[in-house]
Subunit: 343 residues, 2 copies
DNA sequence: ATTTTCTACGAAAACGTTTCAGTAAATAAA
DNA sequence: TTTATTTACTGAAACGTTTTCGTAGAAAAT
């Protein structure tokens, strides 16, 4: 009934009201040249008046651009990712892009599904921090094939795969943390790692081993754990570590959640930190600063990472470089050791 | 050059390959009845084979449905919101909806802008947790006018405004927290509130006053603060509270961040918690559980809130009820006092 | 046998933009 | 003056779906 009454939006309605063709209106809106100044102002006035907003579906269908970026991330609640996402979102917004944020929940299956959905939405690009267990990357092929650029960050493909790669210097972070412990006189250092499928944990483990080797300290296999880094698993590992003496002198956790749980466990069984046990975490989660003793950790400067992601993304979108890698060599972001009371 | 070579996706291509009309393919994909079983399987096979994915822009243009929901939230890094968002996202995903998450950063200006962008994207609905300072809601009118339903949650309009409203029982939460402190024998209770423009802080303040009045304890104006609830402001408030005696016996913070900062301050100046000062926070932020002493707080059950939001949203989307409120009376979610070491 | 209902499909219009090709008028160059 | 160029615009096709309407044949009802 009121279909025609209040449907006074749309380029055609503006055209009609102004006795112009839709084409002209479109040109004004898209800032094309070759449109008379008087016409431009007239159109803009009308646009303002009826509160016109471009229908992105129609224009997207025509131009094959959605001005929307997809993002797949394991969990938005992880501190580093939350920071990065916020930076990306603000950065993209100021350039007229929307962001569809999806959580894979560390499920490869979900990651696949989300990739398909994002493709169906015809996003202009996809930003991905992979699952803990993503070792096969073929589900991203559909994006590449359709010239949708992909930027991997943080947890990135371990085998060569087209797409831009931006990652923290995980090797160096772990190296710094371990060296720090060694310099404090620790020899029996336990290492709690994430699954060694995931790029960041591979690199961190390598960094740990490098530091140990450099000081000629053997790595005790019984003091190294590979597991999903949550509080429960951390407690289990601690249980094993403190089942019999000699106890470890230090714990390097590849994750602040794990470090926090380790600290909690130590407190419970009456081990003094840092006197009897030193703890180093990873990521500079805000929680690591407020517990007592506060936990030494590695800062990844997530805001910086976010900025670089936006920068690279805009570059790619501008150049129209499709899925094919522009620069195959990954961008590696610096990290820093944050010394606190736990060491 | 290869435009026609690899562009073998699309309903028309399937139709061509199978000697059918696009209409039939569409019917198969949309599970319309009146399509022969043999045809259906043939089509589905081809869909599978070429990896067809519906172009949501084309279908959206036609049907005026995007299967995308917009979400505006102050900050995704806030614990309660992160939880709620995750629940919403998972819930919607299993029903075939995408979620565009936007952060207003507690800026009204940004909230306006994001609303416009979401309208331009023609999302099927919008979920909003308002800014701290949103007192005028007219920027949401454009959604209502265009029959895009809006669900407000947590921070909701304080004046009557169309749209579904889902909120925590902030009055009760504050009442519980305050009563708890009073029962522990506290009389000089400081209250650190957020700005009284925002629905949740109005309700919490009312709850606080109610509990105080019920026990005939006067509210000392010098011990009540209205401010943006971040760590810096919390420390300033603490500074004033402990500038001269008599010191407060308890602090009720309308926020766990504030409670955490208050605890930190107390520790620094050597005030013993809970012996000399009791602290209650709000939201059950994970951080409140890991500090020592752990902080008593109010749990809002964010997962439950998320579930209800999804439930209501799906109801609205199914019924096709536009922007006009279906049920003008807000849904109020229960809260619970979590007793910890700080009281 | 005739009429009615149902099934399975096709033709074509529509959704709101963008853009190509075209044109008439105005200006510049010859 | 004629011809070429530029400017300011229009008409119409296109993007990939969905959906209405129509139709031919099959099945059911009369």
């Amino acid at each position: 009934m009121k279909k025609k009454l209040d449907k006074k939006n749309g380029i055609q309605d503006i055209a009609e009201a102004l006795q112009l063709s839709p084409a002209t209106i479109s040109r004004v809106l898209n800032k094309h040249p070759h449109v008379h100044e008087a016409t431009r102002t007239k159109v803009m006035a009308m646009v303002e008046q009826i509160g016109y907003r471009r229908n992105v579906m129609a224009s997207g269908l025509r131009t094959n651009k959605t001005h929307t970026i997809g993002l797949i991330v394991p969990r938005i609640s992880m501190f580093v990712h939350a920071e990065i996402i916020t930076t990306i979102q603000n950065g993209l917004h100021s350039h007229g892009y929307n962001l569809i944020i999806c959580q894979s929940n560390d499920s490869v299956e979900m990651e696949k599904e989300l990739t398909e959905t994002l493709y169906a939405s015809r996003v202009d690009a996809v930003i991905v921090a992979c699952t803990l267990y993503t070792s096969d990357f073929s589900h991203f092929d559909i994006l590449m094939k359709n010239d949708i650029p992909v930027i991997f960050y943080d947890r990135v493909p371990v085998k060569p795969y087209p797409g831009c790669i931006i990652k923290g210097d995980d090797f160096r972070g772990a190296y710094l943390g371990t060296s720090h412990l060694i310099e404090l006189g620790c020899k029996r250092i336990a290492y709690i790692s994430g699954p060694l499928v995931c790029s960041i944990y591979i690199d961190r483990y390598t960094g740990f081993k490098k530091a140990m080797a450099q000081h000629e300290i053997p790595v005790d296999k019984d003091m190294v754990f590979y597991q999903e880094l949550n509080a429960d698993n951390a407690r289990k590992a601690m249980h094993m570590l403190f089942a019999k003496k000699p106890y470890p002198e230090a714990i390097f956790a590849a994750n602040d959640v794990t470090a926090l749980a380790a600290l909690g466990f130590a407190k419970e069984i009456g081990i003094q930190v840092p006197k009897e046990l030193k703890i180093v975490g990873y990521s500079n989660d805000p929680r690591s600063a407020i517990v007592s003793p506060s936990i030494t950790t590695i800062d990844q400067f997530p805001t910086q990472i976010g900025k670089i992601i936006v920068q690279e993304l805009l570059k790619i979108l501008k150049n129209g470089t499709g899925g094919i890698a522009i620069d195959p060599s990954p961008i590696i972001m610096p990290v820093e050791l944050i010394r606190r009371m736990s060491t």
